[in-house]
Subunit: 213 residues, 2 copies
Amino acid sequence: MNTNHHLTRKQQEVLDFLISNQQQFIQAPTLNELCLAMGLKSRGSLHKHIQGLINAGFVEAPNRKQRGVRLTEKHLQNKTTDNELIYKAATPFIGSIAAGEPIEAIDNTRYMNIPNEIKTDNPCYILQIKGDSMIEIGIFDGDWVIIEQRSHARNGEIVVALIDKTDATLKYIEQYPHETILIPANNTMQAMHFQPQQVEIQGVLVGQMRSYK
Amino acid sequence: MNTNHHLTRKQQEVLDFLISNQQQFIQAPTLNELCLAMGLKSRGSLHKHIQGLINAGFVEAPNRKQRGVRLTEKHLQNKTTDNELIYKAATPFIGSIAAGEPIEAIDNTRYMNIPNEIKTDNPCYILQIKGDSMIEIGIFDGDWVIIEQRSHARNGEIVVALIDKTDATLKYIEQYPHETILIPANNTMQAMHFQPQQVEIQGVLVGQMRSYK
DNA sequence: AATACTTGTTCTCCTTTTGTTCTTGATCTA
DNA sequence: TAGATCAAGAACAAAAGGAGAACAAGTATT
């Protein structure tokens, strides 16, 4: 076991992912599960990186016996720098949402690793925004939003609302006994009024991301 | 390894850059990344300087492997910094930035795990925004921005600019032979004109995040 | 017990990235 | 002038990484 062995970038990334997500996995993840969570398509490719971590002593060698990728004690050394907990929870990227259209689900679900700062401890998912209906609060076309999965919300919260079981949209919500109002953050658009039973809450906005690449 | 080996001016400059910026590099930088961060265009040229540092014993010899430029322990002789070798797969959160104020460094650096979608493959760091100078492109007070570490930018890019070595700000940049203009995205604010040598580029905007918690 | 599926493992083929070397030309210096 | 330093870019071999096929041992299902 070469102590001066340096991990490649991908090996380091896999190791970090394992360390940060060990709480997420009830059992040690299989190669397939890891592929899915990390966005890889080939089990064989991932295996090469795991093999590198085994050689470096960070991962137990399964030897065809036990299933799943298990960290050894050594990974604690790797943690030298960050005494804080880095919880890199993989959050599913569901699809895109536009005013007046149902959520287009992404065919094969991807996962993103987002920081705790822009999510909650409850289950969250990610949508990509199409349209400008929330432009005044800084949510632009193409932005990603992080949604906490919930079926109820308080007045004034920003929610993903499913209207008549067909159209999904991101809006401010106001709920009264006899009507539910969905309010855009764009003064060129109108608030929409519905019967309470027409509107189903699918989650509440907790975070937002944008790429300038 | 010749200890009396004297470094050329450029070699010393590269070494200083590596030492003072090692915390910015999550993983040991490749030659290309170093070129980008230092404003060089030729990997081959940089390689010669790195070779000099390898001969002088300041940098590990990669020996054809692709493992990036790593400092040896010897560089500690060169400078006495409170050093801890920080290599981690997270993006450092440096501090906050406001129009007209220097970057307030966070005392104990935190790290965030951000998705690849809102960063680049080059070294990045995170700042928190104070103020409304970029409000029209959806960057609000309190938002986090992801900055790719670079010292050069193209006209029209959004950069972290250090003015007169004291004030840091996030603005559009326009560079001309005799002046550098920093332009806010807020029509209640004015563009600022400087001598080129007054303005030092510290990075380029590549991503943004916001919490609604 | 027989069958189908999963999982770790190995393999080949492919693309991109990276370290390295060389050549050319510019700039600075003794 | 000659020598050193440096930038830029072309070219190349090796490394890194990814996709997918194939296989054997283990597990699940019938």
